[in-house]
Symmetry: C2
Subunit: 202 residues, 2 copies
Amino acid sequence: MTVTSCPQSVGRPRAFDTDTALEKALEVFWRRGYDGTSLADLTEAMGINKPSLYAAFGNKEQLFLKAIELYESRPCSFFLPALEKPTAYQVAEHMLYGAANNMADKTQPQGCFVVQGALSCSEAASAVKAALINRRLAGEQKLHERFAQAKIAGDLPAHVDAEVLSRFMGTVLQGMAIQANNGATAEQLQQIAEMTLQAFPR
Amino acid sequence: MTVTSCPQSVGRPRAFDTDTALEKALEVFWRRGYDGTSLADLTEAMGINKPSLYAAFGNKEQLFLKAIELYESRPCSFFLPALEKPTAYQVAEHMLYGAANNMADKTQPQGCFVVQGALSCSEAASAVKAALINRRLAGEQKLHERFAQAKIAGDLPAHVDAEVLSRFMGTVLQGMAIQANNGATAEQLQQIAEMTLQAFPR
DNA sequence: CTTGTTTTGTACCGGTCGGTAAATATATAG
DNA sequence: CTATATATTTACCGACCGGTACAAAACAAG
């Protein structure tokens, strides 16, 4: 019968912070992709040795999956907050401009980790590729539900196909990730956001 | 002073067709990306051994660059033919529907090789990544010039910013490549094309 | 035939891949 | 102090990486 050991009960204490190490791993995976990232790249960026990485995160694949969770829960994430805006148009507006500013942010890798983390990849990466596809589809599903709710609330015309609209939004957002990789600036992405909003049903 | 040896003059004849081998290489690179493709993957798909690959194509990087050229010159390529349509709207129409059908075509890898061949990659792949970015920017540049010409011809309103419009088109087309990777059908991509055309200035 | 030229298959190169065994170091519990 | 538990470092594992040396094989020229 052991006492609940909340923060570190026994044994040699870990010499690094797992959260900051995971952030470093996310940045490397984001920049180089799963196949393009080696364990040497990771351990160097994280400032730890391989056994520490395996003890703390399992293996390369599990580390990548944890990086996905971190990416979506970061404070600068724009997707979920935009969903809570009062009208469908404002949801689209905040999401598009949030994406424009986030994806071209020079203080982090360009583009979107969920889009480019493992787009085309080896068979060894098929599991993480599937995980990213599921995240992209889940995002569009959330947007679909939000737009369906907006039709009920009356701030989106009844004739609008919420599923097509959400997939169109996903297409533009994912295209913006490629644009950011092409070197597009935040201003240029904002022009894309503006043009997309002109096509948005009101 | 040697006679011009047009088709095979001397030596053991090559036992494979370089064009079909290059097509096989394109398919593997397209599906797995540069980093995710090994020489073993390539030689197996191409049906040749490594020395034959190196003698015919140089090395992995040069083979990839030749695969880009093949990809853009294939008969089913939709980009350049669409540019020759008589009006800006028809250019956009043919390009968007051509992309919808091509990127979801089940007889080839989903999506667009130029988008996903080396989006996020290792430093070893930085040259091919840059080559793909240049191809994407060159496509948008061609579209830009076509729209500028359309403004002069009068089939695109003078107030339209041709550069923004071409970048918007590129964003949607690149987003459609991600959608195809998500498993979107040709019909779903056609809905994206339709919605994009509704936003197109006339 | 012989000679010269090119491609072929095999076998190999050093280096790196993801992952781990083992010994040492640093903490707590008693 | 000793005992236990966890993290650290170092060194290493077999497999695979991209790329090549070499000799046998298959052709044309003479």
